[in-house]
């Protein structure tokens, strides 16, 4: 490496990590300089999160040396790393939902008076810290009562507050929308100016080019290269990550014809008090309905009511011509619905079951317990989707909880595709998925529609949404407020519809 | 009308159920208002019960203590409140001015009676005895073991070769006897069984039969309590002797309380119930018929 040692802050040399059956990191070198934002990139399963965990002592590495400020360190756990001035936000939000926000921020370093925690002082400090992120929330409330996005911001705030020298962020922006990302970047720039080294992992390449000074790319647990951002083009970067050129990565929108076929499902005045205001929705064969809105606008609730997770208390649903009652996910599945939930950790994966079982599960549940899929059928199913979605795993019997975040997401998608539903609801399906797979999934969605499946896709990425949607529902304040079609399907129009207050929104 | 609180240990055996039944029956006959508290085998619950009786202001308290120790404080409170306490079926380890009297059998004596019967019936022949103990640590188990050992101490021909707990239950009695038989050459080394209660003996008798031996002949069976089922076994020649522990402890207790409240007569400190020995010669079937409806 060509770094002059004076500016090097944190240096890792030859880091290796082996899990049973797989060498996940193979002699990776990594150099972080003072006052730089360093993007760590790579495909799903490349080993980014593992490298971070080795750098912070959350995993014991099998080999390699770590030097902080030129001195050899060997953190034996996160606590020790924190003591050395390294703050980290891990990929799955690692905060405790059962503690208050303030406790989460100050766990282990609560201000004390006479040996007892001074709750008032702690809350005051917590409010002060969160104000810097534009958050004005009740810091005494349980963390779990806040949405994923707010939790993410709190995790970031905690890590920033802890980090004297190094801040590591593993996919911090996956569940944030544009505004929060802006806030985060302002904080990051400020820290950079103060001389911290910041490691930033993401699959959003736009964000990389916006903020990173330097890029390091991993592939299959090996270092591919490390370069200043200024010397790297987008195409070059993608090629480095995937090891091949990607034919079509940019979001170019082919005009989607409006679909006016037969209604697959119809919802009239469907809603649930306190969750989502009653709405009408007609789903036609082969169409993709996009759903847009700010955090907390009721997108997830819409999906949950449609799938029977939350029982609707008003309105009626029709599938084909007959009225149905969607009282449970099971009932919805019986009607040919599928639902890929937003929070993969708590609602998606069955961590201890193998990849094969996770993929076969929904199909098995629909067939009923008495008609088991044979092992051979399960294997075939799993192999098919491991290949189709490019799930990176050592084998199909690996517990799905041991897969990398993006690959877990793909596994859940595979579970629902295996069911071949007529109406599939996807809540943030591309969260944490790498560029290559992202393109694959978009192509997959298009292919599914061509084959007659209807989709409802919730996504915070408006560019992505307009690529495949035939129309877009816009939500605000837990109500459906607008529907965009045809030439209105542009990110700008969506933003406009979201921002419009009450009257005069675009489309109808 | 007299109100009497009765703190019972629990209902861990048929014998105890019979004691409870008889107590209630006696109270009913005499027009006593009985407050019954079941302690689920826990001393702390019994103490709570006695304290609650005091708080309620009952006229007298019957206490069947689960263990001998630990009653001083609560008995002191009863004394302060001038409520007489009568102990049932076991005594306590406390100053004797803290209770009015104890209606009990002598547990050590019971063991001695059983041992005596055995020494008499083997009459000098060598005899290996196996012992089924009660629940480890319980006072009947300790005392009945001691009494039996005292009785055979001077008889070198009698030897306890195995002794294990059968928890006072039939199931454990059977299981433990099975292993005794296996461990002692298919039971051929065993000449007699001494069980701390009849229930274990009944279980053990089945084990002996299933091993192809004849209980009552190949292996002598002596136990304590005199519950109805052992008389059936005796009638069938499968058990040899039992020592009675009468479940009617409440009768004498009520007698002394009535005498005390009517005429102020203070009873002796210990009213010992008889530990009567029953053998196959005592017309077991008749006794069975007498006993079978007493709530055992």
């Amino acid at each position: 490496m060509n770094a002059t040692s004076s500016e090097v802050l944190y240096r890792a040399e030859g880091v290796s990590k082996r899990f049973p059956g797989a060498l996940v990191l193979d002699g990776v070198d990594f150099i972080l300089r003072r006052g730089e934002v360093h993007a760590l990139l790579g495909e799903n399963g490349a080993g980014k999160s593992t490298l971070i965990k080795c750098l912070t002592g959350a995993y014991r590495r099998d080999g390699g040396t770590l030097l902080l400020d030129g001195e050899s360190i060997d953190p034996r756990g996160t606590q020790e790393a924190q003591g050395l001035g390294i703050g980290t936000v891990y990929q799955e939000i690692n905060l405790l939902p059962n503690l208050s926000v303030a406790d989460n921020l100050f766990l282990g370093r609560q201000p004390r008076r006479f040996g007892l925690v001074s709750t008032a002082a702690m809350r005051r400090a917590a409010r002060g810290i969160l104000a810097g992120y534009g958050l004005d929330i009740d810091v005494a409330a349980d963390l779990g009562s806040f949405s994923v996005a707010i939790q993410q911001l709190i995790a970031i705030a905690r890590a920033v507050n802890l980090s004297g020298k190094v801040l590591i962020l593993d996919e911090p922006t996956a569940s944030l929308d544009a505004q929060e990302v802006g806030t985060l970047f302002a904080v990051v720039r400020d820290l950079r100016a103060r001389g911290l080294g910041i490691v930033f992992i993401t699959h959003f390449l736009d964000q990389v080019f916006e903020i990173a000074d330097r890029i390091t790319v991993l592939r299959n647990g090996r270092l591919v290269g490390s370069k200043p951002t200024a010397e790297m083009s987008r195409v070059e970067l993608v090629t480095m990550m995937l090891g091949r050129a990607l034919e079509q990565e940019t979001h170019s929108r082919a005009p989607q014809p409006e679909i006016s076929g037969a209604a697959v499902a119809e919802f009239k005045g469907f809603g649930k008090a306190g969750k989502i205001a009653p709405f009408d929705l007609t789903v036609r064969a082969g169409e993709v309905i996009g759903v847009a809105g700010l955090l907390g606008s009721g997108r997830t609730e819409t999906a949950e009511v449609l799938f029977g997770v939350e029982r609707a208390d008003s309105g009626e649903a029709r599938v084909g011509a007959k009225a149905v009652s969607l009282t449970s996910p099971r009932a919805a599945v019986a009607q040919g619905f599928g639902f890929c939930p937003e929070d993969r950790k708590t609602s998606g994966i069955i961590a201890d079951l193998s990849l094969r079982e996770n993929i076969a599960l929904a199909l098995q549940a629909r067939r009923g317990w008495s008609r088991p899929l044979s092992r051979r059928e399960q294997n075939a199913l799993a192999d098919r989707y491991i290949q189709a979605l490019d799930i990176r795993t050592s084998d199909r019997e690996k517990p799905v909880g041991l897969l990398s975040g993006g690959n877990q997401q793909k596994a859940i998608l595979a579970r629902w595709l295996a069911l071949n539903p007529s109406f599939l609801i996807l809540d943030e399906p591309t969260r944490g998925i790498d560029v290559g797979a992202h393109a694959e999934i978009i192509r997959l969605i298009e292919g599914l529609c061509a084959a007659g499946m209807s989709l409802l896709v919730i996504s915070s990425e408006l560019e992505e949404l307009v690529v495949y949607s035939t129309r877009i529902l816009v939500l605000r304040d837990r109500a459906h407020v607008a529907e965009l079609t045809g030439s209105d399907l542009t990110p700008d129009q969506i933003v406009h519809a979201i921002a419009a207050d009450g009257s005069g929104q675009a489309g109808a | 009308e007299m109100t009497i609180g009765f703190s019972q240990i629990g209902s861990e055996s048929g014998w105890r159920a019979a004691e409870t039944t008889l107590t209630k029956l006696q109270a009913e006959e005499r027009g006593i208002n009985l407050k019954f508290a079941d302690a689920q085998q826990k001393q702390e619950n019994q103490i709570k019960a006695v304290r609650s009786f005091i708080a309620q202001g009952v006229d007298a308290i019957l206490l069947a203590p689960v263990v001998a120790t630990g009653w001083d404080a609560v008995l002191e409170e009863a004394k302060d409140a001038e409520i007489p306490v009568v102990l049932l079926d076991r005594t306590v380890d406390a100053r004797d001015d803290l209770y009015m009297t104890a209606v009990t059998s002598d547990l050590v004596h019971e063991g001695r009676v059983a041992g005596q019967w055995l020494t008499d019936s083997v009459a000098g022949k060598d005899c290996n005895v196996v012992e089924l103990q009660g629940t480890t640590g319980s006072s009947p188990a300790i005392d009945r073991k001691n009494g039996f050992e005292q009785a055979i101490a001077d008889h070198a021909n009698l030897k306890i070769i195995r002794s294990q707990t059968g928890d006072f239950t039939r199931a454990k009695g059977k299981e433990v006897m099975e292993s005794f038989i296996k461990a002692e050459n298919g039971g051929r080394n065993i000449c007699a069984l001494y069980a701390h209660n009849d229930d274990m003996a009944v279980g053990a008798i089945q084990a002996i039969k299933e091993a192809g031996l004849k209980p009552g002949q190949d292996i002598l069976v002596v136990s304590i309590d005199a519950v109805p089922d052992i008389f059936q076994a005796m009638a069938a020649g499968e058990a040899n002797a039992t020592v009675e522990l009468t479940p009617n402890m409440a009768g004498p207790a009520f007698d002394v309380l009535e005498a005390f409240f009517k005429d102020g007569i203070l009873p002796p400190k210990w009213i010992q119930t008889e530990s009567k020995l029953f053998t196959q010669n005592d017309d077991p079937l008749k006794i069975y018929e007498e006993k079978k409806n007493l709530g055992y």
Binding site: A58, P329, I350, A351, E357, L361, A362 | E12
Partner: protein, 354 residues
């Protein structure tokens, strides 16, 4: 196919080693331990006793395994045994036919199980407390039926179930073997096993998959109740009487222990009924060994605790890791061992090997 069989066998290696060790120890304290004779039309010996006396715990362990796999626990099984025993005794004593009595007992067990399942699955109570309620009240119900006494009976058919023999083996042994095999086949040949495991690991995600976790939980507790009822009938039949006060007392702990020795995690998920049955036999071997050894009863608990601790320590994930580590020196990293016990990192809900 062969690979799968090998993998399945590997799953039982720790239990088999433990069982073999205990049996060897037993033979040490009692040389005649492995002697088996044929006598009165049945096999007769200490090993047969282990199989026979282990029947109640083995039966309980079958249902308990399923309950624990769903992240639950069933403390009420001992009380349910007492209820079933009381019911069967009361019915035959009342002159009913054996079939009717057995039917009643089974129905009582299943009803108890459904009650537990209702509290857990529908009312959302925590399994320990939900089943604690029946653990306390159930014995009361059983005593209510027997009125605190030992309810004896003389129905030869019923007695045969407890102490008869068929093809040389005691009936209880045949019953737990048959029920174990039946339940194992039922969950493994159908999709039930997978659905139970999924529900135990992540109930919310499983429900979202369309699994009817409510019915599944009800069914699992009902099976546990049924197994407890069978165990209750057996021990009542064995002593020709229903001892509501003592039947199954504290057996729930032994059953849970058997399941854990069998390697099923108390956090739910992967389970193996066969391994739990091995666990039950390990516990009974310890018990029988203690009885045969002739040690004074004061030492029973200490011996049992010590042996169990040793077995569990040998099976603990940390020691397994260490063992694997020692066995495969080729994979040892160049540096000093770093995967310290307790620092082995696994994502939440993955705290289990295998």
């Amino acid at each position: 196919m062969i690979a799968a069989a090998q993998a399945a066998l590997r799953r039982f290696v720790p239990q088999l080693i433990a069982l073999a060790t205990i049996l060897a120890l037993n033979a040490l304290v009692f040389p005649g331990f492995f002697d088996i004779e044929f006598q009165n039309g049945r096999l007769y010996g200490s090993v047969v006793d282990v199989l026979n006396r282990g029947a109640p715990v083995a039966l309980l362990a079958i249902g308990m395994t399923l309950v624990i796999a769903t992240k639950g626990i069933d403390l009420s099984v001992g009380a349910v045994m007492a209820i079933a025993g009381a019911v069967v005794a009361a019915t035959v004593a009342g002159g009913a036919s054996l079939a009717t009595a057995l039917l009643f007992a089974a129905a009582a067990g299943i009803a108890c199980g459904l009650w537990n399942g209702f509290l857990v699955a529908v009312l959302g109570m925590q399994p320990i407390v939900a089943t604690l309620i029946l653990m306390v009240a159930g014995r009361g119900i059983a005593q209510l039926i027997t009125e605190g006494a030992i309810l004896t009976f003389n129905h030869q058919g019923l007695i045969f179930i407890g102490s008869g023999a068929f093809a040389g083996l005691p009936m209880p042994v045949l019953i737990w073997l048959a029920l174990g095999a039946a339940v194992t086949l039922a969950v493994r040949r159908s999709a039930l096993g997978m659905l139970i495991e999924a529900t135990g690991i992540n109930r919310r995600a499983s429900t979202l998959c369309g699994i009817n976790s409510l019915v599944l939980l009800l069914a699992v507790y009902a099976v546990s109740g049924f197994c407890a009822a069978v165990a209750g009938v057996i021990i009542a039949a064995d002593i020709k009487g229903a001892d509501a006060n003592n039947a199954g007392l504290w057996l729930e702990l032994d059953a849970i222990l058997a399941v854990v020795i069998g390697g099923t995690s108390l956090l739910g998920g992967r389970f193996s009924i066969v391994a739990s049955l091995l666990g039950a036999m390990i516990i009974q071997s310890i018990n029988t060994g203690i009885l045969l050894s002739g040690f004074p009863p004061e030492f029973n608990l200490i011996i049992k605790a010590a042996i169990i601790v040793v077995i569990l320590v040998m099976q603990s994930p940390a020691v397994q890791t260490l063992y694997d580590f020692l066995r495969s020196p080729s994979e040892v990293p160049t540096e000093t061992p770093r995967q310290l016990p307790g620092e082995a990192e696994a994502p939440e809900s993955l705290g289990r090997p295998q």
